[in-house]
């Protein structure tokens, strides 16, 4: 009996922490918003090792909790967690449905989730009357409205289910000092295949991005013909032919038939021989360190790389720190335009989720995010434009740069028109920069209209296509096998055969002639 009492007491002791923690929760009646986002994808202050917080970046999550309380009188607590890949996020949602209110997948995953009926629609009120509706760039909003996913047999616009957060293109970051013709050479994706750039370039060790590169080169002729046919060099986003041209480019870039797979594989295998290697995240550091000179990169990473590689003056010591100026280029055939966007999984607290996006869509908060993440927000508005002027502008129209050459206008009207609160008129969203600077950070941050006209969205592939594309990628990664590898295998096989035979032979001999000299030692 005594023993049982002791056991019970022990069991109760074990339960105690749980009881206490539940009690703790019960007194906290705040609403909870569960956000699931990419790592490092929202502005937050740097945390020191001793637990204190720097005031270098805005704590947007805490700010939202404050703002929500001030506005509604209700406390809200944000449970923020992060993921590393779209696939991880998708699996997590499959295993624990209903565990998040707001997630931030990439374009193709958004498409997959919409078509699998996994996400809630945004309310009409949010889509017509929120910071997002007011300040998001009209270009991005139109793009989301023009893309469709099939839900239960019906076509639905992405715009009903998803709100873009960050966006960008893909291109080459390169060191212009490498050769005199590098800018010309890399104006085609095929430039990387040139022997002149052997062992100086890396591409992504990711099937989706590298597949895109392979397809662009495999269909280079067709893309260039199309470009000429539509005179796409001078096309703007308001051109009536834009949608038609862009749809054709998108179709080519999303081909996955057997012939395309074969051509892409051949192209990538050829490229592999010419590369320094593949990379997951080391491309930025390798560029900055000068280990490589060309990197196939996302525009956001490109901005980071160019920023970090630049020479600068140390503010404390006043010394010049040497560096290199890198450029960014989107080749002429086409590019990939990518998004990460918010979606609300089924069963989410949509009201709270919309309030959170509304908060992030305030241009001041978008600036905070851009400062921290370095990627380009889908939000325009005065605050964002002024920040960009602060970052990039080198003067007014008619001014000259240090060498006396006139500054060139960098036209951002397509992005900012219609989002100003009155400080800027439509058509005035132009930043004047030197001709060199126009090839650097700003071109990665905000691609020109001419680039966007030929930028295609990579779509979601079904399981069967995915398997075929992955198989193609495995072959690219696993081949070719060098001749000496076959030789080694042959020698080993022969060696094993000889040893096996000698054992058989020895066994026989031992039977007939037992015991001889030092054999006995064994």
């Amino acid at each position: 009996m005594k023993k049982r009492i002791v056991t019970t007491a022990l069991a109760l002791c074990l339960l105690l922490p749980f009881v206490l923690s539940t009690a703790g929760c019960a007194s906290d009646t705040a609403l909870v918003l569960r956000v699931y986002n990419w790592e490092d994808y929202i502005s937050e202050p740097t945390e020191n090792e001793d637990g204190t917080v720097e005031d270098d970046y805005v704590d947007l999550i805490a700010e939202f909790e404050k703002a929500y309380y001030a506005e509604t009188g209700t406390r809200v607590r944000v449970e923020y967690s992060t993921f590393g890949t779209n696939e991880n996020m998708y699996n997590e949602l499959q295993i624990n449905p209903g565990s998040y209110d707001l997630v931030c997948p990439s374009d193709y995953m958004i498409m997959k989730m919409i078509s699998e009926d996994m996400v809630e629609k945004f309310s009409d009120d949010f889509l017509t009357n929120s910071n997002y509706a007011k300040y998001a760039s009209p270009y991005i909003q139109n793009l989301f409205e023009a893309n469709y996913a099939t839900v239960n047999g019906e076509e639905h616009s992405w715009a009903d289910y998803s709100v873009p957060y960050m966006w960008g293109t893909m291109g080459y970051v390169y060191n212009p000092a490498l050769s005199d013709t590098i800018e010309d050479d890399l104006s085609s994706w095929a430039g990387l295949w040139s022997e002149a750039y052997a062992s100086v370039a890396t591409i992504k060790d990711s099937v989706r991005d590298s597949y895109f590169l392979g397809v662009a080169v495999a269909y280079r002729d067709e893309l260039m013909r199309l470009k000429e046919e539509y005179n796409a060099d001078e096309m703007t986003l308001s051109d009536e032919k834009y949608a038609e041209y862009n749809a054709k480019v998108t179709e080519i870039m999303n081909r996955t038939d057997e012939d395309t797979l074969e051509r892409t594989k051949d192209a990538l295998l050829e490229l592999k021989e010419n590369l320094y290697g593949f990379e997951v995240d080391s491309g930025k550091q390798d560029m900055i360190a000068g280990r490589i000179s060309i990197n196939f990169a996302w525009s956001g990473d490109a901005v980071y790389t160019m920023d970090d590689a630049e020479p600068y003056t140390d503010e404390e010591t006043g010394k010049e720190v040497p560096g290199i100026y890198l450029n960014y280029i989107v080749p002429e055939e086409c590019s990939n335009i990518w998004f990460d966007g918010w979606v609300m999984p089924k069963g989410a607290n949509t009201e709270l989720a919309e309030a959170f996006i509304n908060f992030l869509s305030d241009p001041t908060n978008a600036v905070a995010n851009m400062n921290y993440i370095g990627y380009t927000s889908s939000i325009a508005g005065d605050a964002v434009f002024e920040e960009m002027v602060d970052w990039y502008s080198e003067g007014e129209a008619g001014d000259t740069d240090e060498e006396g050459n006139p500054l060139v206008p960098y036209d951002l009207n397509y992005f900012f028109n219609g989002t100003s609160d009155g400080a800027h008129a439509d058509g005035d969203f132009i930043i004047y920069v030197s001709a060199e600077s126009a090839k650097r950070q700003i071109s990665a941050q905000y691609p020109t209209e001419e680039v966007l006209v030929r930028s295609a969205i990579m779509q979601h592939f079904d399981d069967e296509t995915n398997a075929a594309v992955n198989e193609m990628w495995e072959e690219v990664k696993g081949l070719p096998i060098p001749v000496w590898a076959y030789v080694v295998i042959a020698v080993i096989a022969a060696g094993i055969a000889v040893i096996a035979l000698s054992y058989v032979y020895k066994g026989k001999r031992r039977d007939s002639k037992p015991k001889k000299g030092y054999h006995a030692v064994k």
Binding site: V207, I496, V521
Partner: protein, 270 residues
């Protein structure tokens, strides 16, 4: 009051639990995943993964590549480690444990750090980005050499000197003594070393990824890809099973060289 007897058998309970939870159940899960596939959200029994592996150029060439890398790394490890272990074990040097420790020391430094440092070093020499196969093999050898030295050293150290004296007395010259006595007697150590180096060299993709700039794919990397990016646990499990079978066969083959008596001598540490 019931007296609580604490017998030796009960001491095994934690280990048994550990074994069931972290060895047996996961193995069964891997088996389950390997021989099933998911079609429209339903899991069903299938040999598709097995067939796919042996009909896919990509997977077979990856297998071949892993094999080659592992065999060469193991051979080089053996060539470096044997003389070293032999000299260390037979020398009269009093502080040979200190020397041995120097060779084992790298094992105590974090593995990823060592490989990253090696990458910088290879870059300095100029091998990085040009000699992908060589770099990978250098990395594997660097990483697994201690695993070859240790078992060889322990076997050779325990070698009874009277055998060698007897062999010499019976007229064997140094070479004969080595080939007919020392080497056969150190076989258990050689085999331990080979198994310790061969198996991880087939799967340790951190080395191949870091030092070949992702140019060389080995089986471990393929498994990782199936679990993390391709989101196909079935194929990933199947490759794991195939790898397991290969290693099992290797052990059977090398185990065939073993001699019952030598094992009893306790040389087979691993």
């Amino acid at each position: 009051m019931v007296k609580f007897h604490f017998s030796r058998k009960q001491l095994c309970i934690p280990y048994a639990l550990f074994l069931i939870l972290f060895v047996i159940i996961p193995m069964l899960l891997i088996l389950f995943y390997a021989f099933t596939e998911t079609v429209d959200g339903m899991i069903r029994f299938s040999f598709a993964n097995f067939v796919n592996f042996f009909t896919s150029t990509a997977k077979l060439s990856t297998l071949l590549m892993s094999f080659t890398v592992a065999i060469i790394s193991t051979a080089i490890c053996l060539l470096i480690a044997y003389p070293l272990a032999y000299i260390l074990a037979r020398s009269k040097f009093k502080r040979k444990n200190v020397l041995l420790m120097l060779f084992i020391l790298p094992m105590w430094i974090n593995f990823v750090l060592r490989i990253t440092a090696l990458r910088e070093l290879l870059d300095l020499i100029g091998l990085l980005g040009t000699q992908n196969y060589l770099n990978t093999i250098i990395g594997m050898v660097y990483d697994f050499l201690p695993f070859m030295i240790l078992p060889l050293y322990t076997t050779l150290e325990k070698l009874d000197n009277s055998y060698l004296e007897a062999a010499a007395d019976l007229g064997g010259n140094k070479f004969t003594v080595f080939t007919k006595v020392t080497f056969p007697l150190s076989m258990p150590g050689v085999i331990s070393g080979i198994t310790m180096v061969f198996m991880p060299s087939m799967t340790n993709y951190v080395v191949s990824d870091t030092l070949s700039n992702f140019n060389i794919t080995i089986l471990g990397k393929l498994i990782d890809q199936y679990f993390t990016t391709y989101d196909n646990w079935h194929m990933g499990s199947m490759i794991s099973i195939i790898l397991l079978v290969i290693i099992f066969i290797t052990m059977l083959v090398t185990g065939g060289f073993k001699d019952g008596k030598q094992e009893a001598r306790g040389a087979n540490l691993w």
